[in-house]
């Protein structure tokens, strides 16, 4: 490159500046379209009395009374508690059982290994035409209708988690396992003390996925639970929105409360989560 051009390299040409400004304008417009509805809901959740659709927001109208109302009169805390039980229970079962299941699939030689692995992969592709119906009948037969376990169990172990963790185990250096075996460690000790710490990144990916899925689940709980007092928050909102739709402020506040935990988890674990989502395409 000739010397005269060097000073220009850091300065952008007017055309490039115009292009960048245009890009930002577009990005801001799309951001308003994507995040705008949430911001409007957030603002509305702090408004009291007046028509929620009134376009003129004023600071004097703002208060937290909708949040107080939805917690006190609609007992939102109870629904958040139910959601936590379902979410934490689902995550615990998935992480523990899937990581146990993936371990021999990655490290041991045994009869039927290939078949089991193929079946697990196949379940990710074959659609269960009436999955929910059969699961409902199974849960009914197990006398688990209207119980939290009935909500948690059917979706708890995901074959995706098993396959993801198997992949992670394969990356653990074999000599680490051999060394532990020479030291006389049993399989369970090896799994717990060596393998699990090595696959923590995958475990955290699964936790994030499961958290978002379980927290947002609403349909299966409606089917299994007859008692609305046991509803998780997404289901409760659907129910409240039907029965209390005239209490716009309460529904808005409840919706905000239901969104915030997922957004926090997503923002903190963004990098990990997005890598996993886009990694699924490549894999």
């Amino acid at each position: 490159m000739s010397k005269t051009k060097i000073p220009n390299r850091n300065r952008m040409s007017p055309k490039k500046i115009a292009g960048n400004v245009f890009t930002y304008v577009l990005l801001v417009l799309i951001a308003i379209l994507c995040a705008g509805p949430f911001i409007w809901l957030l603002l509305s959740s702090f408004r009291t009395g007046a028509n929620i659709y009134d376009l003129h927001f004023s600071a004097s109208q703002m208060s937290v009374s909708n949040y107080k109302g939805v917690v006190e009169y609609m007992d939102l805390g109870k629904y958040v508690g139910n959601t936590l039980i379902i979410t934490i229970g689902g995550i615990a079962i998935d992480v523990i059982f899937s990581s146990l299941c993936a371990y021999p699939l990655a490290t041991m030689e045994f009869k039927g290994k290939k078949i089991i692995f193929s079946i697990l992969v196949a379940t990710m592709i074959i659609p269960a035409a009436a999955g929910m119906i059969i699961n409902y009948l199974t849960i009914a037969h197990m006398h688990l209708l209207n119980t939290m376990l009935g909500v948690i169990l059917p979706g708890s172990v995901s074959t995706f988690s098993i396959i993801l963790m198997r992949q992670a185990y394969l990356g653990v250096p074999q000599n680490l396992i051999d060394a532990a075996k020479i030291d006389g460690a049993g399989e369970l000790t090896i799994w717990r003390k060596i393998m699990i710490p090595c696959i923590m990144p995958s475990v955290s990916t699964i936790i994030i996925f499961d958290f978002i899925n379980n927290w947002n689940a609403f349909l299966w709980p409606i089917i299994v639970l007859q008692d609305p007092d046991k509803y998780p928050i997404a289901t409760a909102l659907q129910y409240l929105n039907g029965s209390f739709s005239y209490k716009f402020g309460y529904v808005a506040a409840g919706t905000i409360i239901s969104i915030v935990p997922v957004l926090l988890v997503f923002m903190f674990c963004q990098k990990n989560y997005i890598e996993a989502v886009s990694g699924a395409v490549k894999g």
Binding site: I30, Y53, L100, F110, T123, S156, N216, Q270
Partner: protein, 301 residues
């Protein structure tokens, strides 16, 4: 020699037993709640089964009934119609991915903002858009105040507008997801390729259409496949916002099957409808896949 083999056999046996002990808890759950439903629905669809009445084998009656069931045929038509969102969502998300792939400050903030709808529950999303599209909602209030309209627009209550509204919400929620997929694709394209094109005198639009989009093709087919499957299976947005109404304008197969099962307790019939949906999904997936293999994925995939 013989003893050694015997020892080996013993070892393999012990290893196998250990392996199955490790796998048992997860496998039991997968078998009961994933594999049994796959097999069970294949059986259930040939039966007249409800919780209360007696169960009897009806052969293909559930299928014959489906194709004479007006409501089902409307649902079928609407579900297939819903697939029109696929090209829209794919083109928009490729465009978005190209936009956020530019190396400018603040891109991470925009990527996060575009992704927010994806992680939010469909119930929350539907409640928000319900407020916005309501006859007394945000849009109608604004338009009336600005004097653009005299009568409120029906949106979700309109026979012709309800479906486009649901499609809009689905596209709105899905954009960020596909954007991230395409972004991953774009970032896997070696920088030297675009640089080389630029040196050869290609402008940025030419680089996009001649270099980047062709290299994205494997991603396009995969995302399209994904998007077709979820379009035919659309459920949540219908369940929360319209329940198939007004007058079946937004009735789709998945929701119809749900109402037959958990509203009318006609489990056999619902299973048969589910199977029809699965078959249609599989056929369209195969078409997309074969077409993609032939026309698109011949670069390296």
């Amino acid at each position: 020699m013989g003893e050694k083999t015997k020892g080996q056999v013993m070892r393999t046996r012990r290893e196998t037993a250990k392996a199955y002990l490790f796998m048992a808890p997860a496998l039991i759950i997968v078998i009961v709640f994933t594999i049994v439903p796959i097999i069970g629905s294949l059986i259930l669809m040939f039966f007249d089964y409800s919780v209360l009445g007696e169960t009897r084998f009806v052969g293909l009656d559930n299928f014959t009934r489906a194709f004479h069931d007006k409501e089902f045929l409307i649902a079928l038509k609407n579900s297939i119609l819903f697939v029109v969102i696929v090209p829209v969502i794919q083109i928009l998300s490729i465009f978005l991915a190209l936009l956020v792939n530019r190396k400018l400050p603040g891109m991470n903030v925009f990527r996060t903002l575009f992704y927010i709808p994806v992680v939010t529950s469909m119930v929350a999303v539907s409640i928000i858009w319900g407020f916005i599209f309501d006859t007394n909602g945000v849009i109608n209030t604004a338009f009336q105040e600005w004097g653009w309209i005299k009568m409120p627009l029906p949106f979700l209550d309109g026979k012709f507008s309800a479906m486009p509204c649901l499609m809009f919400i689905t596209v709105w929620q899905g954009l960020g997801y596909y954007m991230m997929m395409y972004l991953a694709g774009l970032q896997s394209i070696p920088e030297e390729l675009s640089d080389a094109a630029r040196i050869d005198g290609a402008n940025s639009i030419q680089t996009i259409f001649r270099i980047k989009i062709p290299l994205l093709k494997p991603y396009v087919w995969l995302c399209t496949l994904n998007s077709v499957i979820s379009a035919i299976g659309v459920f949540d947005v219908v369940f929360v916002l319209t329940q198939g109404g007004p007058n079946n304008a937004t009735m789709v197969i998945n929701y119809y099957s749900y109402t037959k099962a958990f509203g009318d307790f006609q489990f056999g019939y619902a299973a048969a409808i589910g199977m029809i949906q699965a078959v249609i999904t599989t056929i369209i997936s195969i078409v997309v896949f074969v077409y993609g293999k032939k026309g698109g994925m011949n670069n390296d995939e």
